[in-house]
Symmetry: C2
């Protein structure tokens, strides 16, 4: 249950497994390609990536308009360090089922490495034992290690490459993958210094340098009888190790880039000397130690279902591998596991991934928020470009902070990202009550983003309206009073007003300074409060639900009966204008708002809403099932809760959206973990405190997880009983099944039966 | 009053005059560039064009989606025949104010040619008299003629080019001009055959050939003492004529293209021999004859204001020069006078240009309609691409019939073009009662386009709704129940039902065959009738007006007070999403519907509507002022009627939109002529007959024009009296000031005083 395993060598599966078996540490990531035989899969996506590292490419429009972004960030595929050729008595090892025995690979979630091995039968019938290991060190983020270990009764040769000839993956058909602009780096220098080889490259447009350095180490049983030589070729360095009977080649690659460092070579040498005494095994020990601590805080234990246990841990591990751990980086839609969505960061962070880290890894959560603070200047600039007089408009997709969305109806029009980000900061405040962080970073983001609602909203007949936005459901675009947006804005504005007073009280002088800096007055905050109070949340009396937007419920319902399975996802088969014309959802919108802001509607309304919208949702987005699962629990639809959860938790493992090859769906990885915590356990955090409402689906025996809340650390264990244990901190109140308890040590109550 | 004159040599004005002094005949057009000194204006748009001739270029999208067009038509700049160098004693003539005296040019609207002349002072102080003429023959559409006539006491040399090195104009900033893809033709062959020179080219993608042939003729006072030689250079043929004291070079250019001909060379030679005996002056005589007949039918005489008279005749003439006269071609947004909008045909044809020809040039009107019939197959194909089960969806912009709009919110979303085209056919029927044309072409277009309303509309609470369309006002996009669209669809569907019965009665067998061909049943027609009857036309009780769409009147009004003059047109300065958020119009929408379908609202509603919408209209579109002028007359706002009319009638002459350089605004040219007929004279045509409601603005003394109606030809003369004269045909009913009269010969009644 701590391992993802595979013995599948089929070509289609291998492309998908490149994503599943990715290795990363939040700074650097490398897809789970085969070291040997790089042309095994014709369309292999042989990528390594650095989080937050970007080039810029032009965006061309056939018909342009004012304010359209003219360039966008793009995450380059960096120099390839994973490729090696293996020769046995001069015969190149190729991956052919007929020559392979006992193929096996494993992603070890406790050790934090990927291992792969097989028995290879040469054409002359001789057998070799070949094993690989690779790891991206969490403790030393710049280090990526590979090991190839071969036993063979003959001559063994490994030619390992440091290859600068890399191009990004491109797909002109699928809008979820990028098109063109595949060459993003140029080579500055390849060099060899003693046992070290260097590759210095630079992004073509942004001129950000990146350096990769490899140190090779050879071991063989018959010590001394090996050779190692480096050959500088035009675009790569080929390192050849040779021995007989046994050869183990270890590569320690150091990556360093210009977004974080100005003296790449010097810093690389420093890191190198700092870790020069660390063997591969030493690094593995450090990795295990790091992961031990991670799992202690973040594991979600599943009782009675190994299948789910494996999936959940796989997801937690992959999130950890992809999440940025400094203010330069965040977590992109596909993390560091692929090139879908060009390495861009979306609202996925705040609404899907961040909540998980808020509970379990506060420091990581804080870093994700600091990234947003770091790009606030660009968001303010973007607001100006959009014609707003003040405030910040966060980009729908970005790496460096600039708006990188070229299709505004499902991009820039999603103003809700402003509220989503504010929501993240507010949740952090609820979790940790950290007023100094509010003062230093959060408040500025919350106020500047809140200002946008005053810019794009207006009063109409005593209510506050927000027109011409797109909500989370991208199958309806550019509408008025989208429920999700308005509800989130209402919450956002409420908090802006509340914080304004709380921070005044907390540290009047410093807060006054901030207000002065951003020119915030009590009049403006008062406007925010009034807008929040009068926010127009469209309610349909007849259906007893909130309408997704002003006109949504008056539209025709999509003709599901005459839509064939091959027409899904609709976005790949139907013109968006035609999709927008109908009541049809890509993903939850109002239902998502009910999850995030459940106090804005009563339970019966939420249930009716669920019933109505679920019927017309295609789940064409990978962000859909997990939320429907969580809200199914909330509505008491326990069978559905389980079904949706299972859909989400196996989405990448079973390649349900047929695009896992482009990278893992980070939001869904997190969302399905939330399926346990917010879904089955019914965990919520509000101003009034935390609460749970746990159920256990019939298919499981229970689950256990730990959360931080204020200065406390709690374990929530749901089995036949619900047991809450205070692991650290002062006694605190928790609401269980709508009844308040004080947890001082452990409390146990009966679990609700379905 | 039959001439457009200029003696302006300022550089900015010259670029604009390239458009104003364009020469064309509906097949070929050439901008009014200077023959000599081609580099006079650095950004000259030195173009010649063939109507309906096109290449295709890819449309690239940064984020593509299903159904987006991937290629578009583009009107290529064809081989240049207008360039000549003039040398006087070896000194090249350059256009410098210091060397030019008595510069003058004129576009002669009766002769149908452009003349230009000046006295040129060489550096040594000698004077030359230089004159130019050019003409595109209406009688022989393939022929374009140039003449250069020079008197100079010394050696005169003219080097005239047939130049294949042409590229389209490109502007990456202005969305109204195209960007990139400037090389659309490649050269196949240049050749010289005796006195004839040939240039054969081909569009790069569509492989449509085009041939240009020039015959040169030299005359000089000192006959015999001249030389003429052709030099074949890499991309052009240079023809050098030389003489002393006097030299007249005449060029007869024949253009022929592969959209209309399969044997270009042979046809060119045929045309050549047919006109081989025709001198330049013979062709001018034919031209005058043609134009005499044109003006007899189409002139709008203005009493008491030369300024307007000049402008109106200029407009009528330019429309005639640009309008296509076969089913391959139509009239593009800029006609044959420039490259704005890439030579595409829009709804401008049916709503602005066609009405004028319906009244005055029925044959031209019919050709414009036949073009739409000709591209019906592509429109049916497009409907499929948009996900519709049946019907035809006409492209928003096109040459060959395919959708060429890459920005669908202000392109494909304008489904109203279907009704606009149907409206054109219906008007033709009202004018000429031509049931055989209905049966042969019109009905099929009307039914196939009507089907789209059943595809995109739906029933909601007993009313018929049409969601997710964009109306004519492009400052609001993708809305529900746009008044213009719904009203036009209502009319369209009403006529579909009506025609179904009338054609059954007219010719049951043939009509049954058509119904069978397009699979049209009475059930479907019945659905159309029901939809028409129940069409949802949003009416706001409080304001007493029709809302532009469901949500329009609930939006915030644009902050006009804080918009500086340099922020107009808004489309060049504000992001469309921000524009769409507000009540702000680029051009009339509901007000235009009131013009076209005045019986759908009472006069008081139309007046309130005018009052309301006018205040929030920017007139950023050149299609705006003329309609506001017409409707001002209808509402009794006579001062405004005159002001808007003057704005429209001088739009290109005074370059009011600062883009006349990209071509003349064809819709406005026609629209301002309608300003007299539909505006001041209040002319309308309906099922019940024709009516007028004439007024004369204080600034004029009156006006006169002639119209065809059924088999009659009428003159309407408005002066102190309103005099209606039946020029041809049987007596008929006309309604004047709401009172019915029968015109048998002439009737005279008192004109309404303002």
């Amino acid at each position: 249950m701590w391992q993802l395993k595979s013995n599948d060598l089929s070509t289609e599966r291998l492309l998908q497994e490149e994503s599943l078996f990715s290795i990363g540490n939040g700074y650097i990531g490398v897809r789970g390609c085969f070291d040997e035989a790089p042309d095994l899969i014709s369309n292999t996506i042989r990528g390594s990536y650095i989080n937050g590292f970007y080039d810029r490419v032009p965006i061309l429009y056939d018909e342009s308009a004012s304010g359209f972004p003219t360039v966008k960030d793009k995450q380059p595929r960096v120099m390839d360090t994973q490729t090696s050729l293996i020769l046995l008595d001069g015969e190149t090892v190729v991956i052919k089922a007929s020559q392979i025995r006992d193929y096996f690979r494993v992603l070890d979630l406790q050790k934090g490495l990927m291992e792969r091995s097989y028995k290879y039968i040469t054409k002359s019938g001789k057998a070799a034992k070949i094993a690989f290991r690779r790891m991206a060190s969490f403790a030393a983020k710049n280090i990526l290690c590979y090991e190839i270990d071969i036993y063979y009764d003959g001559e063994i040769e490994i030619i390992s490459f440091l290859d600068s000839d890399v191009r990004n993956h491109s797909d002109s058909y699928d809008p979820r993958v990028a098109n063109g602009h595949d060459k993003l780096l140029h080579l500055n220098k390849l060099s060899i210094e003693g046992t070290l080889v260097f590759c210095e490259m630079e992004t073509i447009t942004t001129k950000i340098p990146i350096l990769s350095m490899i140190e090779y180490e050879v071991t063989c049983l018959d010590s001394g009888h090996y050779s190692l030589e480096h050959n500088l070729e035009e675009q790569k360095i080929a390192t050849k190790a040779k021995s007989k009977r046994h050869l183990k080649l270890q590569k320690k690659c150091i990556f360093i880039d210009g977004t974080r460092s100005s003296c790449l070579y010097e810093e690389a040498m420093e890191i190198h000397s700092k870790y020069s005494k660390h063997s591969f095994d030493d690094l593995i020990s450090m990795q295990e130690e790091y992961l031990n601590s991670f799992w202690n805080a973040s594991d979600i234990e599943i009782y009675g279902c190994d299948n789910i246990q494996e999936a959940i841990r796989f997801q937690l591990f992959q999130l950890l591998q992809s999440v940025g751990k400094d203010e330069i980086s965040n977590i992109s839609a596909k993390g560091l596991s692929g090139e879908g969505y060009e390495g861009h960061y979306f609202w996925d962070t705040e609404i899907y991934v961040l909540p998980l880290f808020q509970m379990t890894q506060p420091e990581l959560a804080k870093q994700l928020l600091l990234y947003r603070y770091h790009i606030l200047p660009q968001a303010k600039q973007r607001a100006k470009e959009m014609g707003h007089n003040k405030g910040a408009a966060y980009p729908w997709r970005t790496i460096s902070g600039i708006e990188c969305s070229s299709y505004f109806p499902a991009g820039t029009a999603q103003y809700h990202i402003n509220a989503d980000i504010a929501y993240g900061f507010i949740q952090y405040y609820l979790y940790h009550g950290d007023k100094s962080f509010m003062l230093e970073a959060a408040a500025e983001v919350i106020f500047e983003t809140a200002r946008i609602w005053l810019e794009i909203g207006h009063w109409y007949k005593g209510a506050y309206h927000i027109d011409n936005v797109t909500g989370p459901d991208e199958y309806t675009a550019i509408v008025n009073n989208n429920y999700y947006t308005n509800a989130m804005a209402k919450y956002h504005l409420y908090w802006a007003d509340k914080l304004y007073h709380e921070l005044h009280e907390y540290n009047n002088a410093d807060f006054e300074e901030l207000c002065h800096k951003i020119n915030l007055t009590s009049d403006e905050v008062n406007e925010m409060r009034l807008a929040s109070e009068a926010m127009h949340l469209v309610y349909d009396e007849e259906l007893g639900i909130h309408a997704q937007d002003d006109s949504f419920l008056r539209k025709a319902v999509w003709d599901f009966a005459n839509t064939t399975p091959d027409q899904y996802p609709l976005l790949l088969h139907i013109h968006p204008l035609t999709i927008y014309r109908y009541q049809v959802l890509k993903q939850p919108d109002t239902v998502l708002a009910h999850f995030l802001l459940e106090d804005y509607a009563d339970t019966e309304t939420m249930k009716r809403s669920y019933d109505y919208y679920e019927k017309i949702t295609t789940h064409d987005s990978s962000l859909s099932s997990c939320i429907y699962g969580i809200m199914a629990s909330r509505c008491g639809y326990y069978e559905k809760a389980y079904e949706y959860f299972m859909e989400a938790v196996r989405l990448d493992l079973d390649d349900k959206h047929s695009n896992t090859k482009d990278g893992l769906h980070m939001a869904n990885l997190a969302g399905s973990c939330l399926g346990i915590i917010n879904g089955f356990a019914g965990y919520r955090i509000k101003e009034t405190g935390i609460s749970i409402d746990p159920i256990v689906p019939n298919e499981l025996a229970g689950y256990r997880f730990r959360i931080h809340y204020l200065d406390a650390w709690l374990e929530i264990d749901v089995n036949e009983l619900v047991r809450i244990k205070l692991l650290q901190g002062k006694p605190l109140k928790i609401t269980i099944y709508n009844k308040d308890y004080i947890v001082a040590d452990t409390i146990e109550i009966e679990r609700k039966q379905l």
